[in-house]
Structures are given as C-alpha cells and as structure tokens.
C-alpha cells in the first residue's frame, strides 16, 4: 500500500472541526520497512481515478455526482485535499448525512496508474424518520407539539416535515415539502400547507389562517431571490367582547391570494451580532391579481449597515420602511397593515403600540418607516471572554420611526411631510443576548421621546425577544 507524505498537508488551512478530516486520520505515517515505496507527491501531478461513496442506502447516486464531480478535476495532491474538503462540506449541507469521512488512497487494481488516486467518501445517512415532542406554555395557553421529519424522503435530498400542535384553545399544523435542485442546493422549491392561529392582544384581534404556499428560492449573482405564491383563508375575530368596534368591523372571512418577490443581499459576517457588512432586503407583494378578496400592493425594505470601530465595538445603522396601497377602492384589512413599536423595533414603546388606534386597540398603518443607530460594545471588563461572555453585548441606541395612514390622493410631498411629522423616537442602553444564530433577547433601559397621544409607552426597563430587530 502506497502512502502519502504527511509533509504535503501542512500548507492547507486545516483547523477546527469544520474540516472534520484531520490530517492524522487520513495519512499513516510512513513506517521504516515501507520506506522504499515512499514518494513525495506534493508537487507531482496526480490523477483521481475513482471516487467512491460508501454507505449509501436510499440516496440516489446521481444526486451525489453533482456534489463530488469537482474532485476528478484535481491535478495535484493539495488540490485533491481541497476539493474533497469542499465536496464533503457540500454533502453535509444537503442535510441527508449524519457524518461524512474522506479517505484518499493510491489506486489499486489492474488499471491503476502509478500516480492514480482513489477518493472514498464514507457517509452515514440520517434516519428515515425523526420525530420530536414538546410541550409549550404561554399566552394563557398550554399546547403539545408533535413534529415529524422525513429527510431525504425520495433519495434526492427532499425533505418532508409535519408539525402538529394541539393546544387547550387552538390546534395548528403545518406540512412542508422541500425540494432542492440536484447540484444546486440554493435553488429550491418549498411547498407549504398550514393552519395557524394568532392572538394579537394589542389589537384585541384573533386570526386563524389556513393556507397553501409555493416558494421558489434561487441565487442570482450576490443576491438571493424568493418568488412566492400564497393563498390564505383568513378568519378574523375579536379576542374579547370588549374589543373596539373598529376591530369588530374587520371580523369575518377573507381570501388572500398573493404573489410576492423578495430580494436580499447580505454581506454581514453574522446575522445577530454582525461586526461588518450590510444587509438589504426588499419585499413586494401583490394581492388580488390571482383571485381572492384582498387586493393591494405592499412594498417594504430593510437596510442594515455595520462598521467596526475601536476596541471591538461596532456601529450599526438600520432603516426600515414600507407602504401598502389598496387597489380597487377597497379599504385595507387590519391583517395586512404594518405595525410598529416594541422591544426590538422602536424601543421604549409598547409592542406594536404606535399609530392609529381605536379605544386602545391598535389598527396598524398603511405606511411606516423606522430607523435605528446602535453602538455595540462587549460587556464592560470583558467577563467570560472567548466563551460565555461573547454571547452578550451592551448597546446604546437611538431609535426613531413613524406609522400612519396616507391619503393616496395627495402627492409624494404631502406623504413625506406626513411621515416626518409626529415623529416617535427614543434612546437608551441595554444588554443583548444572542440565542443561537437566529434570535436575540434584549434588556434595555429606554427613554421614549416624541410620544403621540394614543401611543403606549414603556418608560424604563423593557425586555423582549425577536428575530427581526431594528
């Protein structure tokens, strides 16, 4: 058995478990009696003769062809190592393998070339069916959540997930099917079928949605696009008898059929605590064109810029804005309008408690903007540096925003003026905790300013969690 000289591996950037293939696992150190066969392959041209994948069960081989074909093009050993590493990452990203190990060996057999190499991927497939069971308590309601996941259901990295939640008040479910294009994982199709129930105490509103959606995701240059069609049967009702009459008037059933397009450019280095980079996301939704009762055009955008300053502190600026134009003279529904305020948007104000309201129930607005300026720093004196302490940041913030209804008969100048008057703003400081890489918790001391009559404020300590934050 021929061996490969370990020295050749040194220049590769291999560290951490990202690679998974530690040089020592791969290469046996040459033993004295084999010294005669030892060759230095570092700069020598090699030919990858075979690439094998071992451990396949239900996965179709043609899917893997796309992911590992690059390995054949490697011209020298370092290249083989690099390309195998990339192929391994690609295989793991499919989410259909628990483990992938790479073995590189000299070719054997009758057709073996002297400089031929064989690459073997040893994979372990994930289970055919995984299930989960949780209980949740919240919102004056207890519920039991059952989840079923069928990864790789048809052998080409498709995924079928089902979630069922049985609560003391409401049941909800969701069935989702995910299908990536073979060889192009970022280009994928998602089909959804769901029923969800939401209670919105700030509007005294209860909403039950039953819907179906089809979503196509694809990258285009540095941008990511999502095209989506969604058909939802919405049932609105009052949360309590005391709900305002304006909310009561919105009760009943409606059908929304909407086409939407989202484009995003994200160059940030982290979704929750970015220290550099920018995010731009533009979303537009056209409802009513494909049927249904609701017809409107909705546009909104999100922009975030981050810049690293001295001592690991980061200056971050964000701007949100959106507009809803009802089409065909029909007023917009309370379920489609924008809401603003809360511990992760305009801080210092109650959750979605800015703007038009009726008897204490917030009705949302057809246009909004919000901006935020943050200075993030590590915790004072850096406790737990390099570990637990890195989950925290302190921040100083300045937020501003406005939410109102526009009269579309007036020109853009009147709109801008309307958006600029009655400005809500607040400032303060607090601590942010990162939860995984998707959400964050904030504990802030807020000083709300520019409060308009009808707004609900939270003067002082405010606590909240959010996925999207200003």
């Amino acid at each position: 058995m021929g061996t490969v000289h370990a020295k050749s591996l040194d220049p590769l950037p291999m560290h951490g478990r990202d690679l998974g293939v530690h040089p020592d696992d791969l290469v046996e150190l040459p033993e004295p009696e084999q010294e005669s066969k030892q060759e230095i392959l570092e700069n020598k041209a090699v030919v990858v003769q075979h690439v094998n994948v071992q451990g396949l069960g239900r996965t179709k081989e043609d899917l893997l062809g796309y992911e590992i074909s690059e390995v054949f093009h490697a011209k020298n050993l370092i290249d083989v190592m690099k390309k195998s590493h990339i192929a391994r990452q690609k295989l793991l990203r499919l989410g259909i393998f628990k483990e992938v190990e790479v073995l590189i060996d000299t070719s054997e057999g009758s057709d073996a070339l002297p400089n031929g190499l064989d690459v073997t991927f040893e994979v372990t497939e994930v289970k055919r069916l995984t299930g989960s069971y949780n209980t949740m308590v919240g919102n004056n309601e207890g519920s039991m959540v059952l989840g079923l996941k069928l990864p790789n259901v048809f052998g080409r990295a498709e995924k079928l997930t089902f979630q069922f939640s049985y609560g003391t008040k409401e049941t909800s479910y969701g069935l989702s099917f995910f299908k990536p294009q073979p060889g192009n994982f970022e280009r994928n199709l998602i089909l959804n079928l769901y029923k969800v129930t939401g209670q919105f105490p700030w509007s005294s509103l209860k909403e039950t949605d039953r819907g179906a959606s089809a979503e196509f995701n694809f990258p285009l240059g540095v941008t990511n696009h999502t095209l989506k069609w969604e058909g939802v049967w919405r049932e609105l009702g009052c949360l309590a008898r005391s709900a305002s009459f304006a909310v009561r008037e919105e009760s009943g059933h409606s059908l929304k059929s909407a086409l939407s397009h989202t484009v995003s450019i994200d160059s940030r280095n982290s979704a929750i605590f970015p220290s550099r980079g920018a995010l731009l996301r533009i979303n537009q939704e056209l409802a009513g064109y494909t049927g249904g009762d609701a017809s409107f055009l909705k546009e909104d955008f999100e922009l975030q810029l981050n810049k690293r300053l001295f001592w690991d502190s980061v200056l971050s600026a964000s701007l949100w804005g959106g507009m809803l134009c009802p089409i065909g003279g029909q007023p917009s529904s309370i379920a489609d309008r924008f809401y603003l305020g809360g511990p992760t948007s305009v801080r210092g104000f109650g959750m979605y408690s800015i703007g038009p309201q009726s008897e204490g129930d917030y009705l949302g607005g057809e246009a909004y903007w919000a901006g935020g300026l943050h200075l993030y720093t590590p915790l004072p004196f850096r406790p737990g540096k390099g570990g637990f302490g890195d989950l925290f940041r302190t921040h100083f913030f300045l937020n501003a925003g406005n939410l109102c209804n526009l009269n579309y008969g007036e020109g853009p100048r009147a709109h801008l003026q309307k958006m600029a008057e009655c400005l809500r703003w607040s400032y303060g400081a607090g601590i942010v905790l990162r939860l995984g890489n998707i959400a964050r918790l904030e504990l802030n001391y807020c000083v709300p300013m520019g409060v308009q009559s009808g707004d609900r404020i939270c003067d002082g300590v405010q606590f909240g969690a959010g996925i999207r934050f200003l």
Binding site: W233, E235, L236, G237, C238, R241, F245, R248, E249, S251, G252, H253, S254, L255, G291, G292, D293, E359
Partner: protein
C-alpha cells in the same frame, strides 16, 4: 351571553339614555340575507319601533361574524354591542323601555312560552327548509350565503354552514323529519298562535309586546320571501287573523314611518 356579562351590560346601559346614533347590523338585504336571519332582524326592528327607539339599519356582509354571539341581528348602542331579540329586550328594559311592564306574572309567563314556541317551531322550520331541503339549499341558501366571498372560500363557507345547521337539526331530532312533517309543524304552530290571538289586535289585547314583534318578524318575512315553493306561506295564509295581524303591525309601525 353569560349571566355576569348580562348583568354588567344592563348596569352599564341603565346609566345612559338611548342615543340617536344607535345602529342595527344585518347582512346585505338584496343578495345575501337568508329567510331566518331576515325574520330575526325584522323582529328586532319591529320591537325597537314599538318601543319608539330609533335605529339605523346597516347592511354588512360580515354581520354574522361581527355579532358577539354569531347570530343576526345585533345592535350597536353607544359602546355596547348586543345581539338577538332576548338580550336586546333586556337591554332596552335596563334603559327604561319595556313593552311587557303592563303584564302580570301569568301573562308574562304565557308570553315567554309563546315566544319559545315561535323560536322552536318557526325559526327551526326556517332553518330546516333553508339548509336541509336540498333544492332550497342548492338554489337559494348556498348561493346567497356565499355571495360576498370569492371561490373557493364561498363553497367552503356555505357547506360549512350547511353542515353546522344539519348537525344542530340532528341534535334536536329534526334530522329525521320530512319536509311534509315540518310544514305540518308550522301549521300547528300557526293554529296555536291564531287561537291565542283570536280577535284581539295584539296578543295581549291593546298593547304590543315583544311576542308581537317576534311573530310579526317571522310571519311577515315568510309571507314576503320567495322560496322554491310557496307551501310555507300557504300554511300561514290559512290563518286569516294572523294575516291581518301582520298587515296591522306593518301599517302601524313601518308604513307611516317611511311615508
């Protein structure tokens, strides 16, 4: 409505006089409303007119879902929302307007019994004919009920409503009845009402009560609504004193107001 809520409502209501801006909500008159809802709504309107309380009728396609009890009609008075005839009678009573104050206990019990009879017989028969008679359901009820919605929601809601009513009919034992039996029940109910009315102008002699409003609402609506067959109206027409009773209330409370 729970007892506590009812008590609360009456207490709140007593404090304020009847406002000019009171409104009554019901489904769209031309395209949507069904016989049973139309009858209930007319009964409440007749009652309020008998009390001399002005109310403006508003037609909303989602009236059923706006109503706190899910039933038609409901009134919006000040910041109170009250649905159905029974609670509305309570509500006006708390505001000092009552039609049955002049009755003694026996008469009041009798009035309640006849009101129950109307609700259990006429209202249930209307619901049965609307939703359990296949011809009426297919030609009238489902298309009208679903008219404000777009496909496929229209079908879903209409069948959901039909299923709900049929389940209720089965629960009260009407599921097995034939159309003919339902017509016979209506005849019996009308005969009972006709006998009670006799030659009096109203059920309790000179003064109209909520029973008169309720009977008028149902009979007048049945007489004036076109269904797949005229059988239901024919059954009522056999009691001539009920016809003149309807005519009398219409003339007294509806015609002079509009002219």
């Amino acid at each position: 409505m729970s007892l506590a809520a009812e008590a609360f409502v009456s207490q709140m209501a007593a404090a304020e006089p009847w406002p000019e801006s009171a409104t009554l909500y019901q489904p769209l008159k031309e395209d949507q409303i069904l016989l049973s809802d139309c009858a209930s709504s007319l009964a409440v309107q007749a009652y309020l007119r008998m009390c001399g309380l002005p109310v403006q009728v508003v037609y909303k396609s989602n009236a059923e879902y706006m109503s706190p009890s899910g039933k038609i009609p409901f009134i919006h008075v000040g910041n109170q929302v009250v649905s159905e005839l029974g609670p509305i009678v309570q509500f006006t009573k708390a505001k000092g307007n009552s039609l049955s104050d002049g009755l003694d206990d026996v008469q009041r019990a009798e009035m309640k019994a006849y009101m129950e009879l109307v609700n259990n017989m006429l209202l249930t028969a209307e619901l049965y004919i609307q939703w359990c008679d296949d011809a009426t359901a297919a030609e009238i009820s489902r298309p009208r009920y679903s008219s404000p919605y777009s496909w496929p929601l229209s079908n879903v809601l209409a069948y959901q409503k039909q299923w709900e009513v049929r389940r209720k009919m089965n629960a009260i034992g009407w599921g097995e009845k034939t159309l003919e039996q339902v017509y016979d029940d209506v005849t019996q109910c009308c005969q009972a009402l006709s006998q009670r009315l006799g030659t009096q102008p109203y059920f309790f002699n000179k003064q109209p009560t909520e029973l008169d409003a309720l009977v008028f609402g149902h009979l007048f609506t049945i007489l004036t609504t076109r269904l797949t067959s005229t059988e239901l109206a024919e059954r009522i027409k056999s009691c001539s004193n009920l016809l003149s009773f309807c005519r009398r209330i219409e003339q007294t409370y509806f015609e002079d107001k509009s002219s």
